[in-house]
């Protein structure tokens, strides 16, 4: 992708990734996790800040590190890596809050032209999946490699 992104590390199944956000607030380690769900091949994507003291991961914290675009580009690249291993996997994501979900939508919108060449992208609206369209509010997102 053309947008800058952070270097990723992961365990070998590429279900847990780590990267470090760098900005005015300093270096903030972040974790991306793809979790198994009740349906085989359907994974929940979530990411958040890693608290170095407690070891906990918080997906509600707002880092304000001035690099949200680079963070989202890094998350998108992790989805590319994960789905490259098993192209039939579904990846589901929703924000921890309405505003975080909106941020995800803005992220998908930003990369839409590039990403739609490689992924089927759906948005959840009023209890139904529909093909993702820009400027439509969704409560969750689902992608799969074409």
């Amino acid at each position: 992708m053309k947008l800058p992104r952070y270097e990723l590390t992961a365990e070998k199944s590429l279900m847990v990734f780590e990267f470090t956000s760098e900005g005015p607030k300093g270096q903030i380690p972040k974790l991306i996790k793809l979790s198994e769900t009740a349906l085989k091949g359907f994974y929940n994507l979530a990411f958040g800040d890693k608290n170095l003291e407690s070891g906990n991961i918080d997906d509600s914290v707002i880092s304000n590190n001035g690099d949200s675009e680079q963070v989202l580009a890094t998350v998108v690249s992790a989805v590319y890596a994960f789905t490259e291993m098993e192209r039939e996997n579904w990846v589901y994501a929703t924000g921890s809050t309405k505003s975080r979900t909106r941020l995800y939508r803005m992220g998908i919108t930003k990369y839409f032209e590039e990403v739609k060449e490689d992924f089927l992208i759906f948005g959840l609206k009023e209890g139904e999946w529909e093909n993702f369209e820009k400027d439509v509010e969704y409560t969750a997102f689902l992608v799969r490699r074409k």
């Binding site: 270097e7 990723l8 929940n44």
Partner: protein, 51 residues
Amino acid sequence: MKTIEELNEKKIPIVRIDKSLEKYKSMPIFQDKVDMANEVLRTVGLPKLVK
């Protein structure tokens, strides 16, 4: 040899493997999100794929 900039333009990133991250696979982090995903699966299911 490709430059870092050229490599970074690839859609599929270069990922460095770190075994220490394996511990997070079994940790119930983001469990509320997983529960919500399961609820969507139960109530909505998957989108219909047009072949």
